[in-house]
C-alpha cells in the first residue's frame, strides 16, 4: 500500500458512487437492530428488486442502481429504527417493515418525503426532513462519530474514500516516531477512557523504552452501565480504530496490537475482525504493510465480561490468559506491560480520534474544546430525557446545552416533558459522581468535573428527574461496583461490600445515627486505599450524593421515609381520610387483612400488618390510598 494506491481506491470508489442513483442507509447499530432494523433492510432489498430497481449491496463496480447499506449507530437511538436516504440526508424515524413500500414509492422512485416518518421538532411541531435539521444533531459536533452512521463499516473502500488511512500513510511514510508523538502531544489529546492522561506523553514514554517487542492495546472493554460510545465506534467505523492503532504503533515502534472487546459486543467483535482482515488484505497492516515500511499485526480478542478488565493492568492480565486482576503500578504498562514488554493502552475513542489529529494537524484539533481538554467527547445520553442516544460535543459544552438543546429536556417518569426540572445527572457511570442544578452551566471538561467530585469517565450521562431517589441511585451503582470488584485488594472487596450493606440499611429502614458517619468514613478509606481505579472511584456516587443530597439520606435514616417514595421498604400505605368514602373495597382486596373500618367511615391501614403489595391502591376508585 502507498499513497498513490490509496488515492486510486478513493477515486475508484467515488466513481462507482457517482454512478448510483440513490442510497438507503439503514442504521444497524445494536439499538436499531433490536428494534427490527434487519427486517427492514431485507424488506428494502426485496421490494426494490420487485420494483425492478437494480439493488446494489456491495459497491464493487460501476453500475446504476440503488445502494442499500447498513451503517453503524447513528446515535438517535430513541427514534430508531432509522433510515436515511441519500441524497438529501432525509432521515426517517421509527420505521417499520410496513413503511418500506411507501418510502420506496416516495423517496426512491420519486424525490419526495414521507412526511409522517420524519422527525418533528417537539416545540414547534415543524418537520425536519434532513438529518441536519434535527435539533438533536444540530447542536452536536460530530467529529469522531462523523462517519459512524453515514458509511458502510464493512466497506474499506468507503473508509478510504472518506479520507481514511491517509493519515496512517503519512505517519508511516514520512514521519518519525518523535514527530508523531510531538503532534499528538501538541494537540492536547487526552485519554477518552476516563483517566484523561495525555495521549502523546503516554506514547512518548513507551517510545523511549528500548525493547524489540512493544504492544499497542485498544481498550474496548466498555462496561459502564448504559455506556455504548466505544461499541458504536467499533461497530460503525472499525477502520478508524485500526488506523489509530497503526499510527500509535508507528509512534512507539510496536509490532503487535490487540483489540480487547467485551464478549457482550458480538457485532463489534465481528466488525473489528472483518475490518482487520480487510486491512491485512489491503497491505495496510500485517506483514510487509505499506511496502514493507511497517510490520504491525492486530489480533481481536474477546474479554469474558468483567468490568475490571477495563482497568489497564487487569486487561493485560486477561490477554495473557490470567485472572483479570489489576497489579500495583509501578511498573506502568509503558515500561512493563503485556508479556512484560512496553505497552500503550488507549481507549477506542482515543484511537479513533488519532487519524483526525494527524490528518488535520494539531492546530485544528486544538480549535475545539477548552484550554486543558481539547477536542470533542462522545457521551451516551440516557435517563429521564426526551432524546436519548449517542452524542458528541466539544469539551466545554454545558450541561444545560446537552440537556435542553440536544436531549430536548427532562421528562417525568411517564415520559412527559418537564423542562429542566431535573434533579441530577450521573456522569462517568459507577465511577463518576452526580451533578445538580447548580452545575447546569458548568462547562464540562476533565478538570471542572474533577473539581466537583465527578469525572468524565468513559462518558455515561444519566439524567434523573425529581422523582429519583438519590440514595437509591448511589445504592444502584454501589451494587454494580461491589459485583464487579475483582476481589483482590481488601479495601475494595470488603469496603464495597460493606458500603452496599450500609446503603441497604439506609434504604430498608435499619439505619441509625451511626450509619451515615460510618458510610462516609468507609468511603474515604476505599477512595484512597484501593489498588486500582475501580476501587478508588467506587465511592464517588456515594460521596457526591452525600455532598449534594445529604438531607435525603437523613430523611431515610431519621424519619425512615423516602422523599420520592422510591424505596419500597420504607413506603407506608395510608388512607387519606378526606377522600375515603368508606366503601370497604380496599379492605376486601387486602390479602393480609391489614385494612379495617366501618362502612361509610374512613378506613385505616395497620402498618404493622401491611405487606406493601399495592392491592389497595389499585382497588380504590377514589385515589384515597397513598404511599408516603
Amino acid at each position: 500500500m502507498n499513497k498513490v494506491k490509496l488515492e486510486g481506491i478513493r477515486d475508484g470508489y467515488n466513481k462507482r458512487f457517482d454512478c448510483i442513483d440513490k442510497r438507503i442507509i439503514i442504521c444497524a447499530g445494536t439499538g436499531c437492530v433490536a428494534n427490527g432494523a434487519m427486517g427492514i433492510y431485507d424488506e428494502f432489498i426485496r421490494q426494490l428488486d420487485e420494483a425492478g430497481i437494480n439493488v446494489i449491496v456491495e459497491l464493487d463496480k460501476e453500475e446504476e442502481g440503488t445502494l442499500v447499506s447498513k451503517s453503524g449507530c447513528q446515535g438517535f437511538c430513541q427514534m430508531g429504527p432509522l433510515v436515511t436516504i441519500i441524497p438529501g440526508k432525509t432521515m426517517y424515524t421509527k420505521v417499520r417493515v410496513s413503511d418500506v413500500s411507501e418510502i420506496i414509492e416516495t423517496s426512491i422512485l420519486k424525490d419526495g418525503t414521507v412526511e409522517r416518518l420524519i422527525y418533528r421538532n417537539i416545540e414547534t411541531g415543524e418537520g425536519c426532513p434532513s438529518v441536519d435539521d434535527i435539533p438533536f444533531y444540530k447542536k452536536q459536533s460530530r467529529t469522531v462519530l462523523k462517519n459512524c452512521g453515514l458509511m458502510d463499516p464493512s466497506d474499506i473502500d468507503e473508509y478510504i474514500a472518506r479520507g481514511g488511512y491517509f493519515a496512517a500513510e503519512k505517519a508511516v511514510a514520512s514521519m518519525s516516531s518523535e514527530e508523531i508523538c510531538k503532534v499528538v502531544k501538541e494537540s492536547g489529546l487526552r485519554g477518552r477512557g476516563g483517566g484523561g492522561f495525555p495521549t502523546g506523553t503516554k506514547w512518548e514514554l513507551a517510545m523511549k523504552e528500548n525493547s524489540a517487542d512493544k504492544y499497542i492495546i485498544c481498550n474496548g472493554d466498555e462496561g459502564d452501565p448504559g455506556a455504548f460510545m466505544d461499541r458504536s465506534i467499533m461497530e460503525g467505523n472499525p477502520h478508524s480504530v485500526i488506523e489509530g492503532m497503526l499510527i500509535a504503533a508507528r509512534a512507539v515502534g510496536a509490532n503487535a496490537g490487540y483489540v480487547y472487546v467485551r464478549m457482550e459486543y458480538p457485532l463489534a467483535v465481528a466488525r473489528m475482525k472483518a475490518a482487520v482482515r480487510k486491512a491485512e488484505e489491503y497491505g495496510i497492516i500485517g506483514e510487509g504493510a505499506f511496502e514493507d515500511r511497517i510490520d504491525f499485526k492486530i489480533t481481536v480478542m474477546e474479554g469474558a465480561g468483567a468490568f475490571v478488565c477495563g482497568e489497564e493492568t487487569a486487561l493485560i492480565a486477561s490477554i495473557e490468559g490470567k485472572r483479570g486482576m489489576p497489579s500495583p503500578k509501578p511498573p506502568y504498562p509503558s515500561t512493563s506491560g503485556l508479556f512484560g514488554k512496553p505497552t500503550v493502552i488507549n481507549n477506542v475513542e482515543t484511537l479513533a480520534t488519532i487519524p483526525i489529529v494527524l490528518g488535520n494537524g494539531a492546530g485544528e484539533f486544538m480549535n475545539t474544546g477548552t484550554e486543558r481538554s481539547r477536542g470533542t467527547k462522545t457521551f451516551a445520553l440516557t435517563g429521564h430525557v426526551r432524546n436519548t442516544g449517542l452524542i458528541e460535543v466539544p469539551f466545554g459544552t454545558t450541561l444545560r446545552e446537552i440537556i435542553v438543546d440536544i436531549a430536548g429536556g427532562v421528562v417525568d417518569n411517564d415520559g412527559n416533558p418537564c423542562g429542566v426540572d431535573f434533579k441530577a445527572v450521573q456522569i462517568g457511570g459507577p465511577s463518576g459522581g452526580c451533578l445538580t442544578k447548580e452545575h447546569l452551566d458548568l462547562p464540562l471538561d476533565y478538570e471542572s468535573l474533577k473539581s466537583v467530585g465527578a469525572m468524565v469517565g468513559s462518558g455515561g450521562l444519566v439524567v434523573m428527574n425529581q422523582q429519583t431517589c438519590m440514595v437509591g441511585i448511589a445504592r444502584f451503582f454501589m451494587k454494580f461496583t461491589q459485583n464487579e470488584s475483582c476481589g483482590k485488594c481488601i479495601v475494595c472487596r470488603e469496603g464495597t461490600k460493606q458500603m452496599l450493606a450500609l446503603l441497604d440499611d439506609i434504604t430498608e429502614g435499619r439505619a441509625d445515627e451511626t450509619t451515615i458517619p460510618l458510610l462516609s468514613e468507609l468511603a474515604g478509606v476505599v477512595k484512597v486505599g484501593s489498588l486500582c481505579g475501580l476501587g478508588k472511584s467506587a465511592p464517588n456516587p456515594v460521596l457526591s450524593s452525600l455532598e449534594f443530597f445529604k438531607d435525603e439520606y437523613i430523611e431515610h435514616v431519621v424519619n425512615k421515609r423516602c422523599p420520592t417514595g422510591s424505596c419500597k421498604a420504607l413506603a407506608r400505605y395510608m388512607i387519606i381520610e378526606e377522600k375515603c368514602k368508606g366503601c370497604g373495597l380496599c379492605a376486601r382486596k387486602c390479602p393480609v387483612d391489614a385494612i379495617t373500618g366501618e362502612k361509610g367511615m374512613a378506613y385505616r391501614i395497620d402498618a404493622d400488618k401491611c405487606i406493601k403489595c399495592g392491592a389497595c391502591i389499585e382497588a380504590c376508585r377514589l385515589s384515597a390510598v397513598a404511599m408516603g
Binding site: A306, R323, M325, S327, P328, K329, P330, Q482, N483, E484, S485, C486, G487, K488, C489, I490, V491, R493, E494, G495, T496, K497, Q498, A501, T514, L518, E521, L522, V525, V528, G529, S530, L531
Partner: protein
C-alpha cells in the same frame, strides 16, 4: 563509587542499601509496617493495602510497590494512615469467622496480632457471608476458607516457589475464594502437601491436619507402647515457639518434654538417616557400577516424591528405592520391637515429630501400611509438639536436658545435617569417598554442597571418576533442574531434592518464620550440632553397624529391601470418580472403561464410546454391561485405551471391542 540514595522516613534520614522497595527500607529502619501479602521471596501483590505510607508529592502509596527515590520524604504514621490501617483490619475481621479462641493459629495469627496492635476494639460492620465448607480431606492439610483473608500468599508460594499451582482464586469480588480446581478437595488435586502455604498464611486458613488428640489418646492407653522419633530440623526450630532464637539446639529439652508427656521411648530420626546413608550410598555406587539409569534422585522428601510421581513419572526408576528416614525408622522399630518381644507390632505406636506436613501423607501411603497397621502411626509437626508441650504446662526453656533412648537414639553428624538442603548429599559423600577410595582420614566438611542457593552443583572426584552432584531446594527449582536434565542441557549423577526452601528446616510444619534469615539460622544450628558431635560419618555409627550384624546383614540385602526400601507409582491421572455412561441390571456384568484423557480423546475415544454404546443397545445386551468414562490410564502414546473387564486394549478400535465381546461369549458358551 555510586552514591547511595537517601530518603527521609518520618523526618529521619535513612540510607537506601540494596532494599528493593520502600517497605523494605522502612522495615530496615526499624519500623514494622504491617502487611498480609508481602513476602520477600514471592512476587509483589499489593492487595492488603496495609503498607500504605504518605510520600510527599504522591500522597498515600503502597510502600511494597514503591521504588525509593533519592530525597523522598515518607511518613509512616499519620492520622489518616492509622485510620486506614485500623479500618482495613476491621473490614477483614468482618469477613473472618473470628473463632479465635478455638483456632490452632491463635498464638501466631497475624490478623489477631494486627487487631491488637491497631487497637481495633469493635467491628462496626456486619457479617454477611455464609459459612463455607472446610476441606479436611487430605492427610496433611486442613483448609478453612472462613478464615481466609485472600491475601494470595499461598497461591503465589505454590505457583512461584513450588511451581505447582494446586490452589488459585475462583469467583469474583466478595465471593472470591482460594480453592483447588473445580472446588475439589486437596486430596484430589496436585498438591504435594509441602505446607509452604501454611508457612506463609497469615491466619488459620491453611493448617497442618492435627494428630494431637490421637497421640494423647495413644499415650493414655495403658495397652499401648508409644515411642517417638525426632527429626533433625525440629530441634533447631521448636525453641522459637518458646521465645528462643532460631537455630538454638533444644534436643535435650525436647527429649525431656516427650518423656514427661508420657512417651515410653524417645528416639532420633537421625539414626534412621544414618541408616539411609548406608543404603542410599550403596545403591548409588551400585548404580554407577552396573551402569543403571542416572542420575539417582534422593527419596527422603515426600513432597518431592509426589511431585516426581505427578510430573516426571518417566524418572521414577531414577529415584532411590530407599524409604525416607521416617519410614525406615517406623518399619525397623516395629520389626525389632516384635522380634525382641518388647511389644507386638500391633500394640506399638510410632509417633514421628517432623518439620513437615507432607510426612503425614507419606505415613499414610499404602506402601507403608503392613498387616499390623502403619509403620508410622502419627506424625506431629514441630508446631503441634510445641502446642502439646504448652498444654502439658511444661516450661520448655528451663527443662533439664535429657538424652535419647538407645539404640535408635544414637546418631552421627551425617544424620543430623539431613535437615538442611545439601545435608543428604554431604552425608553421602562422607561415606562414598571412604568406600570408594578406602581413605578414612579426610575432612568431613564438603563446603561446596552447602549454602542457600536454589540450585547448587558440585563435581566430586571419586578415584578419578568425576561425579556431578546437584542439590535443589524448592520444587519450582526442581522443575527447572528436571527440565534441564530432560533436555540434555545438564547432566548429573546424583540429585538431592528438598521441596522446601532451605530444606527441612524451612518445612511447612515449622514455627512460622519471620523471613528466610530464620531458615538460614536453623541450618547453621544443624551444622553446629554436627560439629559438636563426636562422630560425623554415618558409617561410623556403631548401632547401625550392630543392626547390620544382627538383622539386616548388609546394605541392600534382601532383609534391607524388605524393611527399608519402597516403590513409586505414576500419578498423572486426574483423581476423581469415573463417569457412568450405562449401567446394566444383570448380575453378571462386564465393565468397560473408556479413557477420556486428552490423548485418547483426540484419538477418537468419544466416537469409539458412542459406537460401542449404540452397538450394545441395538443388540439389546445393555443389561450385561457397565460402561464408564475415566480420566487417563497413563498410556497416552498407545491410545485410545479401553479397560475391558480388567484387560487393557491399547490402540483400541470398535472391531477390537466387538471381537473381544465375541471371544468372551464364545468362552462362556
Amino acid at each position: 563509587m555510586k552514591m547511595k540514595k537517601r530518603i527521609y522516613i518520618d523526618n529521619i534520614e535513612t540510607t537506601v542499601n540494596d532494599e528493593r522497595n520502600l517497605l523494605e527500607v522502612i522495615r530496615a529502619a526499624g519500623i514494622d509496617i504491617p502487611t498480609f501479602c508481602y513476602h520477600s521471596e514471592i512476587s509483589i501483590y499489593g492487595a492488603c493495602r496495609l503498607c500504605m505510607v504518605e510520600v510527599d508529592g504522591k500522597g498515600l502509596v503502597p510502600s511494597c510497590s514503591t521504588i525509593p527515590e533519592d530525597g523522598m520524604r515518607v511518613r509512616t504514621n499519620t492520622a489518616e494512615i492509622r485510620k486506614m490501617r485500623k479500618m482495613i483490619v476491621e473490614l477483614t475481621l468482618a469477613s473472618h469467622d473470628m473463632s479465635c479462641p478455638t483456632c490452632a493459629k491463635s498464638a501466631d495469627c497475624k490478623l489477631q496480632d494486627l487487631a491488637r496492635r491497631m487497637g481495633v476494639d469493635e467491628v462496626r460492620f456486619k457479617k454477611r457471608a455464609p459459612k463455607k465448607p472446610i476441606d479436611r480431606a487430605s492427610e496433611s492439610l486442613v483448609r478453612d476458607p472462613n478464615k481466609c483473608v485472600l491475601c494470595g500468599d499461598c497461591v503465589r508460594v505454590c505457583d512461584e516457589v513450588q511451581g505447582i499451582g494446586a490452589i488459585d482464586f475462583a469467583f469474583r469480588g466478595s465471593e472470591s475464594t482460594v480453592t483447588p480446581c473445580f472446588g475439589k478437595n486437596l486430596d484430589k488435586v496436585e498438591c504435594v502437601y509441602c505446607g509452604q502455604c501454611v508457612r506463609v498464611c497469615p491466619t488459620g486458613a491453611i493448617l497442618p491436619k492435627s494428630h494431637i488428640s490421637e497421640v494423647w489418646e495413644a499415650i493414655n492407653d495403658p495397652e499401648l507402647t508409644v515411642v517417638a522419633q525426632l527429626a533433625p530440623a525440629v530441634r533447631v526450630a521448636i525453641g522459637e515457639s518458646f521465645g528462643l532464637e532460631p537455630g538454638t539446639n533444644s534436643t535435650g529439652q525436647i527429649v525431656a518434654a516427650l518423656r514427661k508427656m508420657g512417651f515410653d521411648k524417645v528416639y532420633d530420626t537421625s539414626f534412621a538417616a544414618d541408616l539411609t546413608i548406608m543404603e542410599e550410598t550403596n545403591e548409588f555406587l551400585g548404580r554407577i557400577e552396573n551402569g543403571n539409569k542416572m542420575p539417582m534422585f534422593t527419596s527422603c522428601c515426600p513432597g518431592w516424591v509426589k511431585f516426581a510421581e505427578q510430573y516426571y513419572p518417566e524418572y521414577l526408576d531414577n529415584i532411590s528405592t530407599c524409604a525416607s528416614p521416617q519410614q525406615m525408622f517406623g518399619s525397623l522399630c516395629k520389626k525389632t520391637y516384635q522380634r525382641s518381644g518388647a511389644s507386638s507390632a500391633e500394640k506399638l505406636r510410632v509417633v514421628s515429630i517432623m518439620p513437615c506436613t507432607a510426612k503425614k501423607f507419606e505415613a499414610a501411603r499404602p506402601e507403608f501400611t503392613k498387616e499390623y497397621g502403619r509403620d508410622v502411626d502419627y506424625v506431629l509437626t514441630t508446631r503441634e509438639l510445641a502446642l502439646m508441650i504448652e498444654e502439658s504446662g511444661l516450661r520448655f526453656p528451663s527443662l533439664a536436658p535429657d538424652s535419647f533412648d538407645m539404640p535408635f537414639g544414637f546418631k552421627t553428624g551425617g544424620g543430623v545435617i539431613f535437615g538442611s538442603s545439601g545435608g543428604v548429599t554431604e552425608a553421602v559423600l562422607r561415606y562414598a569417598v571412604e568406600k570408594v577410595t578406602g581413605e578414612t582420614n579426610f575432612g568431613y566438611v564438603f563446603e561446596s554442597v552447602r549454602g542457600n542457593k536454589g540450585i547448587k552443583s558440585a563435581i566430586v572426584d571419586l578415584s578419578g571418576n568425576k561425579l556431578r552432584f546437584g542439590i535443589v531446594m524448592g520444587l519450582g527449582n526442581a522443575r527447572k533442574l528436571m527440565e534441564s536434565i530432560k533436555s540434555g542441557e545438564e547432566h548429573y549423577d546424583f540429585v538431592e531434592v528438598m521441596a522446601c526452601p532451605g530444606g527441612c528446616v524451612g518445612g511447612g510444619g515449622q514455627p512460622v518464620p519471620e523471613n528466610m534469615e530464620t531458615t538460614v539460622r536453623r541450618s547453621r544450628g544443624l551444622y553446629e550440632n554436627d560439629r559438636m558431635l563426636q562422630l560425623h560419618k554415618s558409617q561410623e555409627n556403631p548401632y547401625v553397624s550392630e543392626l547390620y550384624d544382627k538383622l539386616l546383614v548388609s546394605p541392600n540385602s534382601h532383609m534391607a529391601h524388605e524393611l527399608l526400601h519402597t516403590s513409586y507409582k505414576p500419578r498423572q491421572r486426574t483423581e476423581g470418580d469415573d463417569v457412568s455412561i450405562l449401567s446394566g441390571q444383570a448380575d453378571d456384568r462386564t465393565e468397560i472403561t473408556f479413557c477420556f484423557g486428552t490423548g485418547c480423546f483426540v484419538k477418537g475415544a468419544q466416537e469409539l464410546l458412542k459406537e460401542t454404546v449404540d452397538f450394545i443397545r441395538e443388540a439389546d445386551i445393555a443389561d450385561s454391561f457397565d460402561i464408564k468414562a475415566t480420566f487417563c490410564h497413563e498410556n497416552c502414546s498407545r491410545g485410545p485405551v479401553v479397560d475391558y473387564d480388567g484387560e487393557m486394549i491399547e490402540k483400541c478400535t470398535f472391531d477390537k471391542i466387538v471381537s473381544r465381546m465375541s471371544a468372551v461369549r464364545a468362552g462362556k458358551e
